[in-house]
Symmetry: C2
Subunit: 363 residues, 2 copies
């Protein structure tokens, strides 16, 4: 099967095998070494000297953890959104009592940093800024370097900056410290090539300081407790041990390949897929400038159902892709190229899609 | 290795293998079938016609989900506690704004239903009653049938009843519907013989009704969303797919053995271990009446360090047990017999402990 949905992504064979390891206790030395190694590797890919903590949850749990640790009810929140996951991040902040102002960009476009700057400058105070690095619903990579510049110029009025990097980190460049991100969330089943069940959260020193005052109720997501336990190579609650074994294995693979090479490979895969889709006469949802290195959204010809094409791709060609989300559900296909993916996989997707679309044309 | 801690517990070989299965998409038919089957099996072991939902988190996440879905800030909560996990359940309710009255019983004792009844009758109104079925920190199984009787006699003043069954369900009898439990939480890495990373929560009709009014903020734990997705064989957020494959396999094993046989086997294992420990001249923390079928806490002789004995058991005999919790940390060992455990495993524990204690005596 050629699993080309934007997570869970395919497991390399050694990662798959690592899932089948004998269980160990989570208060034992084997586990302490495991967690310590995984956290150190995550810091490398996050390009940070700060803590990167591991939570047992999906990526959305990681986003909730960021909000409830950083926010107090009533806090002013600016949420930048250009798709379903930007909306979700904003919805979480609203659910926990944030006064959320959304800055929306059209689905398929990336954010415009100048507009974000104007919005921030026009407000009395903003406690939190929420951004999505890679918008999985539309295949857009937002220019967060530009946001880093905007925040750098705000001085003392700078909000705490929370980044959803669930479907970018490990495949795209996101230097947390250099860009001054305060909380950065990712998840195991995306570019990290491990099964779902673990979220990661990088936390800056500024975020730790803010957290001490933040009053949203929290228990399972309490990052202060997570840090306290992490120092001794443990987690406050029983972690997904097997998934950590898998992640340890995939992180070693990633170190072997190297971050720069990984980032370049993903860019190349995106380019290859976009060229292949254009050759089929299809329109791409995002521009080349906004294009995501991990997932590509392609518009199908008028009258062709994405749900039907998706079904045929799976049934006849063993290629599993995703349909669009929200209003794009039946007009867009999303094809992922994150993590364990080669140019051969992309070639197979394009060839299969060509066959399915020609088959429909012949009917 | 003879992993005898109260979770994570050892994996049967076929469960271990199931973890290494190829990844599948969580919106695909394979997954829909998987989740549907797992939920049906869980309902069997919960002995309920109600929903049993699956969350990607540890058991503590499941307890938090119960609280934030059932409770509004300011609600009156009675929390019955006889150990660390009873305290944790109460602490979660407090963290989210519950007005918590704790009814504490000594560590090593079970609850006294008459005292709980008097406390409930002496209060104006109680919104939630929290109880722990199996107190993992002390090896005590609480008599929840007696609590069911107490609640049955309260009529309209009956609180919503939340049960922590993390370390009992799947090994002990807990007929959710017959006893009238409203929310019952368990977790994959305990008697269910699967890796950690999944929590389960059974939800009564009364609980669903209450939930519609409960105002604690929630997003990741939103059970109404989980139920809405469960109807179509899905989860709102990416679930721990591999762990669900493992759980599917272990549930099939459990159905093969049968609930009554499983419950009896655990009682026998507890009895065998307690007799073996008494023959070593050791005192058991819980009485025979209160004794847990899944974990046994044993007091070490004066001056013998539980931390040291634990280390020697692991290093010399490959037997991994847990020390006590809280004040019992260095005086008590906790030995688990939940899930994948046979009388041979128990025999090995007792033999190894005998050797370690004799070795210390000889020094």
């Amino acid at each position: 099967m050629n699993l080309r949905i934007p997570g869970p992504t395919p497991l390399p064979p050694d990662v798959q095998q690592a899932m089948g390891r004998e269980m160990v206790g989570h208060r034992d030395s084997v586990f302490q070494k495991l967690l310590g190694e995984v956290m150190a590797q995550l810091r490398h890919f996050y390009q940070t000297q700060s803590d990167v903590l591991v939570l047992t949850s999906s990526g959305t749990g990681g986003l909730e953890a960021a909000i409830v640790n950083a926010m107090s009810p009533g806090d002013g929140v600016v949420a930048v959104s250009c798709g379903a996951f930007g909306e979700r991040f904003a919805a979480i902040a609203s659910a926990f009592g944030g006064q959320v102002e959304r800055i929306d960009f059209p689905w398929g476009s990336g954010l415009d940093a100048a507009r974000v700057a104007r919005a921030l400058e026009g407000r009395d105070e903003t406690d939190l800024l929420l951004t999505t690095h890679n918008e999985t619903s539309t295949g857009v990579l937002n220019d967060l370097a530009a946001i880093a510049d905007v925040l750098g110029s705000l001085g003392r009025r700078r909000p705490l900056w929370l980044v959803d990097a669930v479907s970018s980190l490990g495949a795209a460049d996101l230097p947390m410290d250099a860009w001054g991100c305060d909380m950065v969330v990712s998840a195991s089943q995306k570019a990290w090539m491990a099964p779902p069940g673990l979220a990661f959260i990088g936390v800056s020193q500024r975020a730790w300081t803010r957290m001490a005052q933040a009053t949203c109720p929290r228990f399972y997501w309490d990052l202060a407790a997570a840090r306290e336990y992490a120092v001794k190579g443990q987690t406050p609650f029983t972690p997904a041990v097997s998934t950590l074994f898998a992640l340890q294995t995939s992180l070693l693979r990633m170190r072997g390949e190297g971050l720069a090479v990984i980032v370049d490979r993903h860019r190349q895969l995106s380019k290859q897929l976009r060229e292949g889709l254009r050759e089929l006469g299809l329109r791409l949802l995002a521009s080349d400038v906004d294009a995501s290195p991990t997932v590509t959204a392609v518009c199908l010809p008028e009258g062709v159902s994405a749900v039907d094409v998706r079904r045929e791709l799976a049934a006849r060609h063993g290629v599993v892709v995703a349909t669009g989300q929200g209003a794009l559900k039946n007009t867009v296909l999303r094809i992922a190229h994150m993590g364990y993916c080669s140019s051969v996989d992309i070639d197979r997707v394009v060839t299969a899609l060509k066959a399915v679309l020609q088959g429909r044309h012949d009917c």
